[in-house]
């Protein structure tokens, strides 16, 4: 077993990372805000509709503070944020933070199941391909992973629905549960699998599993391919090292050499690519959410963009930034925990 002392980790370095997070987020905030304000989408029109008369338009324009100079709007916005107020969304009329708290768990749930698929399928495939380098099976795995990486998610989603939902009837259709179960379980965590289990409503739980498997699997395909390819190349590098040859010469069983020696040494690298894939899944679920009518963060962000709903867009982009930065920091931390060489 590997044991590590957290105290060995350089917390100063970590804290330095946190301050750079704040600066990065502020930059991101300013950039998104100003880009949003110069976009050729009129948020007032989204509120009043195309047929409203001018007096209504002017009234809403002023209510939204758009008559003020851009820098003033930004200062007001910063002031509100400093007080924890990200404003209300045009789309829902509710505070943006509440909206995000509602839609994000749906995406989190989807991406988490997707990354689990990615890990449990990608890693063994990658290891297997590396161990059998150059053989037919290696080529097959590489072709499959190339296919998984390059096929449009939207198309695979549609085909998946036709085969597994319409023909074989083994998974659910669009949405997070069968529509007739919609609203049966009150949200606690926002993740339906957990909420329905907490409520002990096993019909909803079963329906939720049926509905999440296909979109999560298809969303996870990219991650599977990425993880497979990376695992293969990490393993190949390890397998060519001298210590592996030594172990083999010592007569250790093959599985011990592969799993205890080689695989253990690629764990840190794997952690990095898994966290990065996870971040990409959280942010990149837009198309899958559209195909499967999954009411998640991706759909929310897209709809907000099309409406010119800048409160929602800025807050969403900040969240994405935060996720990526946090995952990077986490990776950094994990490196230091697991790999003594990176502790300076």
């Amino acid at each position: 077993m590997l044991t590590f002392q957290l105290s060995n980790v350089r917390f100063k370095h970590f804290l330095g990372g946190l301050s750079s997070v704040a600066i990065t987020l502020l930059g991101l905030l300013a950039l998104t805000f100003f880009i949003g304000r110069v976009m050729p989408i009129d948020p007032v029109l989204s509120v009043v509709g195309p047929d409203a008369d001018n007096s209504t338009y002017e009234q809403v324009y002023q209510e939204m503070g758009l008559d003020k100079p851009l820098y003033m709007q930004y200062l007001y916005y910063l002031n509100d944020i400093a007080h924890g107020d990200f404003g209300n969304a045009l789309l829902t009329g509710r505070p943006v933070i509440e909206d995000i708290a509602r839609v994000f768990p749906a995406t989190l749930e989807l991406a988490t199941i997707a990354i689990i698929f990615g890990i449990f399928i990608g890693i063994p495939l990658g290891v297997y391909a590396a161990v059998n380098k150059g053989r037919a099976v290696d080529h097959i795995i590489r072709v499959i992973s190339l296919f998984g990486y390059s096929t449009p998610v939207f198309w695979v989603g549609m085909i998946g629905l036709i085969i597994f939902y319409a023909w074989l009837n083994v998974v659910g259709g669009s949405g997070r549960v069968d529509l007739a179960y919609d609203g049966f379980v009150d949200p606690v965590t926002g993740m339906l699998l957990i909420d329905s289990a907490l409520a002990k409503d096993w019909d909803v739980f079963q329906s939720a599993i049926k509905h999440i498997i296909l979109p999560a699997f298809i969303l996870g395909l990219n991650a599977v391919s990425f993880i497979t390819r990376m695992t293969r190349s990490f393993m190949l590098e390890q397998l060519s090292q001298e210590y592996i040859l030594t172990a083999q010469v010592k007569g250790l069983p093959k599985h011990v050499v592969i799993w205890r020696h080689a695989f253990r040494n690629i764990l840190v690298q794997l952690l990095t690519i898994i966290t990065l894939s996870y971040g990409a899944l959280l942010e990149g679920a837009v198309l899958i959410e559209t195909v499967f009518a999954w009411p998640g963060f991706g759909q929310y962000l897209t709809s907000s963009l099309l409406l010119g709903d800048m409160n929602a867009v800025v807050a969403s982009i900040l969240l994405i930034g935060l996720i990526f930065i946090s995952l990077n920091l986490l990776t950094d931390l994990l490196y230091q925990v697991f790999d003594p060489r990176t502790r300076k």
Binding site: D53, L91, M158, L179
Partner: protein
């Protein structure tokens, strides 16, 4: 690593799905109606601001109106909350006698005070749906005088300006602003004198056959039956509306019986489903028109000869035959189909030779360059492509600029466009004035007037002669004479060649499972689900 280990490992994740996937999907329960539809325009449920057709469909089941218009015969008015109504001799006052047995979902009694408050609120808030009322002369200042509760069950509306009271009745029976709100309940949630606007955006306080259980933007609307409804309570105990934009997904779910009703599907999917015995299609003609519009602020299009040439450069038949099935039916008049005053079709068609001659006369023998703004969605983009290719035959090089509704209609509101393919006008009321006010009428063509709700102003089409007839016709009490005047307007619009070329009257095709009965799609989108049953 041996193969069997790997297989065991890989099989783990597959086994998970295999063991938990039950063999059959649930068909929708007998007492629930499940609807798949796009909720893209569903931004608010507040009857003062929610203007999209989707929201009308939702609110029509949460709220009641004073009167209702028949689904297929919208000029037929039937009583609802108002038992009877009378119009004064001079047509300036309408008095409604209300039912006394109606309670809101909160348990409060519905009274005339609620009715007056609901209508006054629309004007006081001055949000999207105040526009129609303002065209009748109602303002935030005069509305308390104009709309009054005379006693608990009598409401009197005094028209601030002379107009056709029938038109006002039609608005009361079809406008999304005409829902009656529980004033006591809403005022409990008032914030900063907003008359409950923030609260009503996501909540409802009506007396309709269904109570709002949950609305999540771009996700779902859940409604439960209101057991104390003043009519027979609905057979459906729950309505589930789900935001679904993917036509293929809608089709699969409808085929499988996971949804009962699907709206907003693509044409290939509609056509495919028409062959399915378990599904039936219902086409509803809507009030709006698909059109090609030009801006007469552009010197080229202010030239009547150029507009006349354009009239011959649109392949009306080709567009309607190949692009519009299930979206619309051929129509070339600014007045919508089905009204007594609507004249027969004009029979214009593609005639490149004639168009070229007209362009030469106008001083453009080699055509010109222009742009067509259009929504990047079907069928708009296909209409624009067709128009682009037929314009090219006469040497007109039109660049297509796609965008969202916001961008396309935003440019039109600012009168900053050249050509545009769009949909609009028609109005919801089954009255010629409703169509003409929206598409043709333009009392002041100056930029400062900013009559952005009139498409006549947006396109810069200004005809004092037509304006006068429209104004006079509205006050004409002799029905036959009024019809003739509206026919005159159509003929004049044709000879003066307006800036909007209607192509097709909008059709909305809804797909239903065959066992869903008594669903009647409403022309004004106020589709009421209270009588829907399932016969299995």
């Amino acid at each position: 690593m041996n193969v069997s280990n790997l297989l065991k490992y890989c099989a783990l994740s597959i086994a998970v799905s295999a063991t938990i996937a039950p063999s059959a999907n649930a068909i929708t329960p007998d007492n629930q109606l499940v609807i798949g539809m796009s909720m893209d325009n569903l931004l608010s449920l507040d009857p003062a601001s929610a203007s999209g057709l989707d929201v009308v469909g939702v609110n029509s089941n949460l709220y009641d109106m004073l009167i209702e218009l028949a689904p297929k015969e919208p000029s037929k008015i039937s009583p609802a909350i108002a038992k009877t109504w009378t119009i004064s001799e001079d047509g300036s006052r309408i008095t409604f006698q209300l039912r006394d047995d109606v309670t809101f979902h909160s348990g409060n009694k519905l009274t005339a005070q609620d009715v007056a408050w609901s209508f006054q609120r629309v004007l006081k808030l001055n949000l999207a749906l105040a526009s129609t009322w303002k065209t009748y002369g109602f303002t935030a200042d005069n509305v308390e005088q104009a709309i009054q509760a005379k006693d608990d069950y009598t409401v009197e509306i005094t028209l601030p300006e002379k107009t056709d009271p029938k038109l006002v009745l039609y608005t009361l029976g079809s406008s999304p602003s005409a829902f009656i709100i529980d004033s006591k309940e809403v005022l409990k949630h008032e914030v900063k004198d907003d008359l409950g606007h923030a609260w009503l955006t996501t909540n409802a306080a009506g007396s309709g056959p269904f109570k709002l259980r949950d609305w999540r933007a771009k996700d779902r609307v859940l409604m439960n039956r209101y057991d104390d409804y003043w009519r027979e309570p609905s057979e459906m105990s729950r309505i589930v509306m789900r935001h679904m934009t993917e036509s293929q997904s809608l089709r699969l779910m409808l085929e499988r019986g996971d949804i009962d009703i699907a709206m907003g599907m693509s044409i290939p999917d509609i056509e495919a489903l028409k062959k399915d015995d378990n599904v039936r299609a219902e086409a509803n003609i809507r009030g709006t028109l698909y059109y090609v519009a030009v801006s007469m602020k552009d010197p080229k299009f202010s030239n009547k000869k150029v507009r006349e040439a354009l009239r011959y450069l649109i392949d009306y038949k080709g567009i309607n035959d190949s692009i519009m099935p299930n979206y619309g039916v051929l129509h070339q008049r600014p007045l919508k189909l089905g009204l007594d005053a609507t004249l027969p079709e004009l029979g214009y068609g593609l005639n490149v030779k004639k168009a070229k001659a007209l362009l030469a006369e106008a001083g453009y023998p080699d055509g010109f360059k222009t742009s067509i703004r259009v929504l990047s969605q079907l069928p708009f983009i296909n209409i624009a492509t067709s128009v682009q290719s037929t314009l090219a035959q006469a040497g007109i090089d039109a660049e297509i600029i796609t965008g969202t509704g916001n961008q396309v209609y935003g440019a039109m509101r600012e009168r900053k466009f050249e050509m545009l393919v769009g949909r609009g006008g028609g109005g919801i009321e089954p009255h010629p004035h409703s169509s003409l006010r929206s598409l043709v009428y333009n009392p002041d063509n100056s930029d400062e007037a900013k009559l952005t709700n009139f498409q006549g102003w947006r396109t810069g089409f200004y005809s004092p002669e037509i304006n006068t007839i429209i104004e006079k016709a509205l006050l004409e009490k002799d029905t036959q004479k009024q019809i003739e005047m509206y026919q005159d307007v159509q003929n004049l619009y044709d000879t003066q060649i307006g800036a909007i070329f209607p192509i097709s009257q909008m059709v909305d095709t809804v797909l239903l499972r065959s066992d869903v009965k008594h669903y009647e799609g409403h022309q004004a989108a106020t589709t009421r689900l209270r009588e829907v049953t399932k016969e299995r």
